[in-house]
Symmetry: C2
Subunit: 383 residues, 2 copies
């Protein structure tokens, strides 16, 4: 069984003292160190990064990592917008299925805060369809349309979105690696300025720098000797029309539904078996859609149930969501996010989550590219 034996995450935030390549190097070398292995024991590396090309003219980053490590092993770079990290992990899992007795490293990284507002807005919009870009739609603009559809269809107010931000900031305040470690109130969310109606500033995840890496192996000796180990039960990827106009419905992300169904089938688990989930809350609306699309809650009921704070640490409901603080409070360096989600589950399932520790045997990570054109759902379990 493919098993994660270490995780390292840099702090997420405005890390002006580090370059993109610094962040990758730190996450890679620390994850190897934490796994208590030599770099020569790594057989292949899988990298998720979205914006290295557009923001700093750095492509071919596999060879950058080869230079950093002085290794000649395969290094693969994946790009699927904000799902780049999840995609890299999903393919790494396939690599291990094809190759017995191997060990891989999966790293996600992004360096966003050096770019000006125009450059980062344009870079983020590269995740959208060309016609959407020509129409002037920004990344928040696309999710604003999804939010408007949802609120109107199920008769909710903007306050129903705000609870996601409040909960995730509460969690982020308990995570030392989070970008924002400050609790907020519904009133503060409601009073924050509009970014793309109905989404306000405090409905949006921030622009962030950061990197995260895991070491994953199917080598029995390494698994046996691992200090902290978590099993990969399934990881599935699905796609959808990049443009919203190509979708049947706008109150659901079909790629999430498909990836989740496949992941639960492969893991042979039920929705109720999951105790910890890291969901892709790039905007508050996205967590509500994810709760329904994954099947934790029924379609249309998330707006109500989020107001009960039943997925908050300490609620006792049995399912806690985004203990890391989510993208909203922990930060969203896009290529790193998919790995940070998996890493948060690893920390939780191995009782290393400190002030935000919750109980649970199984965890689920959900990583989305763009406005839902790609989704990756991963289920991990205690060994």
């Amino acid at each position: 069984m493919n098993t994660i034996i270490s995780y390292h995450q840099t702090k997420f935030g405005e890390l002006w003292e580090f370059s993109l390549h610094d962040l990758i190097r730190i996450a890679v070398t620390e994850a190897i160190k934490d796994a208590n292995i030599e770099k020569s024991q790594i057989d292949a590396i899988f990298l998720g990064n979205m914006m290295g090309g557009v923001l700093e003219n750095s492509l071919h980053m596999g060879a950058v990592i080869a230079e950093q490590l002085k290794l000649h092993i395969p290094v693969y770079r994946f790009e699927a917008a904000c799902a780049s990290g999840g995609m890299a992990f999903q393919q790494a899992n396939i690599y291990l299925k094809a190759n017995p007795d191997k060990t891989v490293l999966v790293v996600g990284a992004e360096k966003m805060t050096d770019a000006g507002a125009g450059a980062i807005t344009e870079a983020l919009s590269a995740a959208a369809g060309i016609d959407e870009q020509f129409a002037g739609l920004t990344f928040p603009g696309l999710y604003g349309m999804l939010a408007r559809t949802y609120l109107d269809k199920y008769n909710y107010s903007e306050e129903n979105l705000a609870h996601v931000a409040v909960k995730n900031h509460y969690h982020g305040a308990r995570n030392k690696k989070a970008q924002f470690r400050k609790e907020i109130t519904v009133e503060q969310v409601m009073k924050s300025p509009y970014v793309a109606s109905p989404l306000k500033m405090l409905d949006c995840s921030p622009i962030s720098d950061g990197a995260a890496a895991v070491v994953m192996t199917n080598n029995k000796t390494l698994i046996k000797n691992a200090k902290h180990a978590v099993t990969v039960l399934s990881t599935e990827l699905a796609t959808d029309s990049i443009s919203l106009k190509g979708r049947k419905r706008l109150d659901t992300l079909e790629a999430t539904v498909i990836a989740a169904d496949k992941a639960f089938a492969e893991a042979q688990l039920e929705r109720k078996d999951i105790h910890i989930a890291e969901l892709h809350d790039c905007f508050t609306i996205a967590e509500l859609l994810a709760m329904e699309d994954i099947g934790f809650w029924k379609k249309g009921e998330a707006g109500n149930r989020i107001a009960n704070y039943e997925t908050k640490i300490g609620s006792g409901s049995g399912l806690t969501v985004n203990t890391s603080g989510g993208l909203k409070a922990a930060g969203h360096p896009v290529g790193a996010t998919g790995l940070k989600q998996i890493g948060e589950l690893y920390m939780q399932l191995t009782n290393q989550a400190e002030d935000r520790q919750v109980d649970g045997k199984y965890g689920l990570a959900h990583n989305v590219g763009g406005s839902g054109g790609t989704a990756v759902v991963t289920i991990l379990g205690q060994v």
Copy 2:
């Protein structure tokens, strides 16, 4: 055994009437048609593209393909500079090893001729190390340094490079899909203006648009029913320091040496078993280095042997190189090149290569990223 059952290539050249996404769509839909299957029989798609982000702000292209095909299957995008196509193919092969009874499509594409000279020079330099970029080194500049090292060390003149271009233009003239279908002479190469000494204009591959796709399967029924099929014996990827300063030697690309050794070991073949090779001749020097690094010729002797034209169609030597015209004459839409090389072997091994047909049971493709930071070597055989 993983088997290629179809191939489609757009013409390579200045295709102003098509966008990047048009080229992808054409190659994908035609390859599916040629395989005589329905699109619903495709389980996953692997895309190689380098410059979609930097040249046209298009990332997340997996979801673009999902929209074009109206499918929800996994679509993975790989980027390793000019080895993006080879990397996509190499991972697709791993996917099939992990998953029995599956069929995948691998597509490579690039749209380069819409960009201005400055933009394309910068985009190509994204394949180099950041310090090399800061030093002002262009892509031809890096290969110019490799060429200078080789000519000086083994006491050759610039004419020893020119024969590569003459041979590959001779081949390209016989390939209807090639960008340049015109034979050239050594004198013409020698009289062409310097781009980056000692490399002259006719030592360099062109800026190109194009796409290429293969359908590969391990489904026994599809293999049995295929009109034209070729077996994948091995495909291996290795890396090296992205920057030349990080290399031990500059008269060899170590990533090629490692990938080739692994590919021959996996295929259980000797160098002499290969009758057809598509090598990564982005510049004339690159084909000479590849002939030696793969082990067809001894280190230092390529400069002499190329002058005998023993790898030209009709020479009778038993090994013909770059029957497609290579990158030099067939064109080099960078993300498509790795797939076009594999496709050319497919056409040759299934006797569909028309005016450029040569005999042979086994073929080798060699795809390089940047100045050698990534190399992919693939060996195919007749079924």
